[in-house]
């Protein structure tokens, strides 16, 4: 039994459930709309407001075959991977709670992690720059390496077959704020 199962959350983990299970105190205001919606700046640290974006379908994901998507912005820093691990994961959605999404920029110095997914161990890395690896079943925790933050996890929700990105846990490399990343 794991914590999530014991917590009695419903099978399809809601964003609220995800956040609680992850132990975060962040409270989220839902904001319907496409990526291009202008976001309010200066969101307080503990009260993040993220856009909602449909990023894929449960039925189209194949185990251990990551797909790329942009969120919460369209610039290079907002590149993420969506992957069905085939193993239950912290913050996982879908029937097996094994679908997760993470930023593909290493939180050490921004090394590219796309293409570095290791199916056997459910980790991503080593980062080609300084060899950091991250555990995708454990909210992007560093397995070994130099990153000073876990790999930012994209908060997911499912609505039927649809997978929606609804938030980001952790600061994406390069940004000083996920919600107001540039001048």
């Amino acid at each position: 039994m794991n914590e999530h199962a014991q917590s009695g959350e419903r099978l399809c983990l809601s964003r609220r459930g995800f956040l609680l299970a992850s132990g975060t105190a962040v409270s989220v205001t839902l904001l319907e709309g496409p990526l291009s919606v202008a976001l309010g700046q200066g969101a307080a640290l503990q009260r993040a407001t993220y856009p909602r974006a449909r990023i894929g379908r449960v039925s189209q994901l194949k185990a251990d075959q990551p797909v790329t998507f942009q969120y919460p912005w369209k610039d290079a820093n907002s590149t993420n991977m969506l992957v069905k691990l085939g193993r239950e994961a912290g913050g996982g959605v879908g029937p097996a709670r094994d679908i997760v999404a993470f930023s593909t920029l290493c939180t050490h110095m921004g090394g590219p992690l796309a293409g570095q997914y290791r199916a056997q161990h459910k980790i991503v890395g080593p980062c080609p720059l300084h060899l950091t690896t991250f555990d995708l079943t454990r909210h992007g925790m560093v397995v070994a390496g130099q990153a000073t933050e876990s790999l930012p996890q994209i908060v997911l929700e499912t609505k039927g077959d649809e997978i929606w990105a609804t938030g980001v846990m952790g600061l994406i490399y390069g940004y000083h704020s996920n919600l107001a990343p540039r001048a």
């Binding site: 132990g23 912290g90 921004g110 690896t133 070994a144 130099q146 000073t148 490399y173 540039r182």
Partner: protein, 889 residues
Amino acid sequence: MARSITYKYLPEDKVLLPPPDAKVATTACDYCIVACGYKVYTWPLGREGGPKASQNALKVNFPAGINTGKWISPNMHNVVHVDGEPHHALVVPDGDSKVVNVGGNHSIRGGALAQKCFNPNKPSQERLLSPMMRVRGTLQAISWDTAFEVMAGVSRHVLDRYGEHAWAMKTYSYQYFENTYAISKLAFGSIRTPAYAPHDKPGPGPDTPGLDWAGIDAFSASYEDWGAAEVIYFAGVDPWETKSVLFTTWIMHGKNPDKKLIFALPRKTTGVAWGEQRGGLFLPVIPGTDAVVQLAITRLILEKGWEDKAFIEKWIANQWEIDTGMGRGPRNTPVEWFTTWGRYGIDFAGYKKWILGYKYAELKTASEISGVPADLIRKAAEMLARPRPDGSRPKTSFMLEKGIYWCNNLGNTTSFSAMGLICGAGNRPGQMISRGGGHQRGWMGGAGYPMGLSPEKFPGRRKKEIDLDRWVVDGKLRFAWVIGTTWVQAMAGSQELMDSFEKMTRGNPHQIKSFDPKAAVETLKKRVDSGGMLVVDQDIYRVAPIGTEYADLVLPAATWGEEDFTRCNGERRLRLYSKFYDAPGEAQPDWWIIGGFARKMGFEGFDWKDSNDVFEEAARHGRGGVLNYHPLVVKAKQDGKRAHDLLREYGTEGIQTPIRMVGGKLVGTQRLHDTTLQLGPPEGPTVHPKWLTQFNSHSGKAVLMRSYWEDFQDFFEAVKPTGDELWVTNGRINEMWQSGFDDMRRPYIMQRWPYEFIEIHPDDARARGIESGDLVAIENDNVLVQTGGYLGVDDNDLSFTELRKAGHIKTSTGSFTAVAIVTDAVRKGVTFANFIWPSAPANSVVPRVPDPVTNRYRFKLGKGRIARIGESPYKRSFTSMTFAPRPIA
């Protein structure tokens, strides 16, 4: 270990940028030997900079670019007090750095330095805030003056009645020149006690005698050398684990990024995996057996004639050069007692003859003892020394660390230096023999260790430094002042040591019942007169058990960022570690506390106004040494500056010691024993020791030393696992620093490593029903400890066999618990734990019998039976600990 205590790290999704007018200070990392350069930005609360380059002090447009070293992660931010007012502080790797951490590279440890700073709203609020005395069993706040009065009152009594041998200090050897100078000036100059030990060993003395006595300075190499090497042999070290930037900047890159790496370790780490992938080798040694592997490699090289003949001809001492001379050399070193009989140092022809006939240097024998396949040893010899078809040789360098020198200290380090020397390494760019290093180099001796007063003696005439732990266990101490170290769990056979402390402090009937210092002194006099002891613990946090259980006085120290300090890194690079925020409460830097006590004792020469005063005074004690910065102080005086301020101008680049003056300018020294260094006549305060351009022996040539497996074999056979026991070796893990004193206050690190761990091979785990995430108990009911045996008279008196015959070896026990990680990264039969997790100390299962010649512990040679207790709370947690494999490249 209830489920509710598993860590849940709460990441932030924003970090404040420093406004353009934020104050900037330079410093270096507080942790590992590499000492990456950092910049600290501070500014008052209520403001922040913007994402345009013109809007922030970093002068960077956000988003920051990849690998620019200009991004700030949320763990680089904290709130501190500056002159009593709350300020934001960002501790950021110096992205402009051209040395050490070029381009802002950093480790996970240094990158989270900001979380070290005292913040009443974060876990660092646990800092010690005032001096405390244990009255009626509880540590309570007192004044500095009361603390000094009690310490001085008891010290006078102890020194008068029991002598300086009963008055001890156990301190870090590295936490800044200003503090170590004050400590050594007091201990060795004013008190003149021989009862002193650095944090990581039972007494003073060399860690790597095989280097020192061969004439090689342990930190002679520069980071450029590791970068330029074509082949590197790593003995008992993977710099990727905790010398992160030395590996990720200099070994993965540097002048020659195509270098081949050979690792001799009992455990495959990330650096090993990376090296193997690029054509390197992994020699999976059984703990303690490196000497035979190194001897076998050396012998293979000599059999093939691959040695560097030109180098040997010019730079290896002949017999006459070994046997004569009045300066430094085996005839006149701490090992005179054995070299006098010509057993170790020998000329090249003699060495070659010896090793070609020496049983334990045979490939087959070495392979059997070490568990390393013969083919791998053969390949290693070839990679290290085989000349290319055009006759040129690979530029080979050799790095060693605790994996070999905390096993078979003498045999491993002598065979290591001999192997390096015959490959032509030790005195030129890219071809060096050095330590990788652990902590930084921060010792500046204010007076010499009073060897003549030491209670220990080698056979023959030479005195030997004290083994302070044995001194405690034998009940010889009455006063112990501990500064910045965990002492008990950091030492071998630690549970035996713990029992002794308990008995002499809390177990004594005389306990302080009054805040009146005179009454406290009277009580403590009764305690010491009845065989008890006063322990004073000076640190930044409460350290269990030395500070929480055994100490009657606890003193709060100010540390990194709270005072201007200086020290050198692993390439002798001297930097100023700037003060940028207020020390918490009444915490004071260690030099100030030493001064307060010394003045109370009536000692002269402790009236420093500030840390710069200490730095300038200490300079003359380092003249002629490897860390000599005296010319900087002279230059500062010439320029009408404080020496700290002149060093501050050198920023994160600093300057490599020994510092010289050339043409009126200060010049650093890149490497030692450097045959490419051109020296003119020494100018002004400059000193030109011979070892700048030659080896550090009286002849200037390096000495080959024989290594005898027989010297170690009796001990090795006695401590190796039998029956269902496994080796329980230990070491550092990249994500943590030392005892975790700061890491335990970093939720980010604690989610990764919430408890002691032990790596165990899948076959060993299966046989015991252990899975990753299970809590296991490790127990050793055969922890060998030495008691007595202070004086050697006949040749072999201090060997393990003779000590045992004489009744000086007894059996103790030790145990700890850990979370199992099942992995084939460790050899079958070998397990690996974090070397110092204070609440579950792996050193408790380690024998406490030091090397008879060098007094160094065999920390890496623990053993025990391992049994499953049950599931740990981390086994099925998604938020605490991970069991994914580490060595992946």
